[in-house]
Amino acid sequence: MTEVRILPTGTANIASVKAALTRLGASVSDAETDRDVTDAAGVVLPGVGAFGAAMSRVGDHGLAPALRERIEGGRPTLVVCVGMQLLCRESEESPGARGLDIVDSAVTRFGDEVRVPQLGWNQVEPAPGSRFVEPGWAYFANSYRIDRVPDGWVGATTDYGGGFVSALERGDVLACQFHPELSGPWGARLISRWLETAKEAA
């Protein structure tokens, strides 16, 4: 059974991530120490709430350095929703709060021409070279997004009042702006492909 640790970013939505991974046969538990983050076959940074609050939860547990090292090393890590925005240095949502600062992209709010938050199903278009993401419909719940693909990453895009980055891949790291755990069979297949890499790396 593939062991997956979930980063403590708060309560909201973690149950859905756990349920999805459990259905796919993973053994799921919380990451409590930096050792958990370093040693687990797979690590999930789930998406909840605001940029600043989510980052300070990770920081409070002292897990940011281990997480940064894991992502920079391209080890199996699944990053969801606001988690993907945490890869950046900062966000319009929480001025002054510092993210993981791994990718060089801005996090900005959707424009006034669309309803915000974006709540619902939208189409994901992977870039050539994508290992994980297939074209399909994904469920989004976000008001902020990354507006360009950072160097060294393969990005998928989606349109909502203009294009934005809906997924990023590098090594065995998969970051999704959408919620794969809520994206039906398409999302389950995506998580399953990522889990395979965690299994192989274990």
């Binding site: 708060g10 938050p117 709540l119 278009e125 349109d159 999302g187």
Partner: protein, 251 residues
């Protein structure tokens, strides 16, 4: 490319069973929530709403267990409402497996509740559920399953609630609930025009045309209950008919 319009089956839950009435009264049994939710997901539902309509503390306990059971099988979003009086109640539902939480009566009694939930868990999981009764000229908010009219203007209330952090509005026409007469389209249009968050139209669906009209009136999603529970149609059939009418739906 843009967002698909959503079809959202709603399960009213009492003591661990799905029930359905007309204008919130005369509830009858409509099946097991886990079986219903799984069936509707399979038919292409875009998310599921669970509304706990039990009035007792025992009923609330049942509801949390129902949320856990539904979550374990469901791979689409789950919104849960009913009996949320404090931010901690919302937290319990989210922990049990809800992705969004609906607040209704308690937010009318104490509006800051909306901001408390939004601040802790985010706007995207804070849903304002509004039950609206027509006054002829406009609509007023009704609470306690329609037993109490508040005199509060629905459009004003929705505007205020979104300013306080509600990220979505679940808008139910009390006059149409369970009647199958179609959604109250002027209500849908009035609220959709007044707010910038998504609006879910609810109350009165009987045929695909009703869902199409609600989307054209400005709703981002259409909620359905009786017609599915009674087996008169399926989510698949509704979405096919909507696509034929030119509405973008998730295939």
């Amino acid at each position: 490319m843009t967002l698909a319009s959503r079809v959202v089956p709603c399960l009213d839950i009492k003591d661990g069973r799905v029930v359905k009435g007309v204008r919130f009264q005369g509830l009858r049994d409509a099946g097991d929530p886990v079986e219903c939710a799984a069936l509707y997901e399979q038919q292409g539902a875009d998310e599921i709403v669970l509304l706990d309509v039990s009035a007792t503390p025992e009923g609330r306990g049942h509801a949390l267990e129902t949320v856990r059971r539904v979550r374990s099988v469901l791979s689409i979003p789950l919104t849960v409402g009913g009996g949320v009086r404090r931010a901690e109640d919302a937290g319990r539902l989210l922990q049990a497996g809800a992705d969004k939480v609906g607040v209704n009566t308690a937010a009318v009694d104490r509006p800051p509740l909306i901001g408390e939930i939004a601040e802790q868990y985010g706007n995207q999981c804070t849903v304002l559920a509004v039950d609206a009764a027509s006054t002829g000229q406009s609509w007023e908010v009704v609470v306690e399953s329609g037993r109490t009219r508040t005199g509060i203007d629905v459009v004003e209330w929705c505007r205020k609630a979104t300013a306080m952090g509600a990220g979505e509005i679940l808008l139910t026409s009390w006059d149409r609930d369970g009647t199958r007469e179609g959604y109250d389209l002027s209500l849908v249009a009035a609220v959709s025009d007044a707010v910038t968050v998504p609006v879910i139209a609810s109350g009165g669906a009987n045929e695909p045309r009703h869902l199409v009209d609600a989307i054209l009136a400005g709703a981002s999603a259409a909620l359905v209950a009786s017609i599915l529970h009674d087996g008169d149609t399926t989510v698949t059939a509704l979405k096919t008919a909507m696509a034929d009418a030119g509405i973008l739906v998730r295939p």
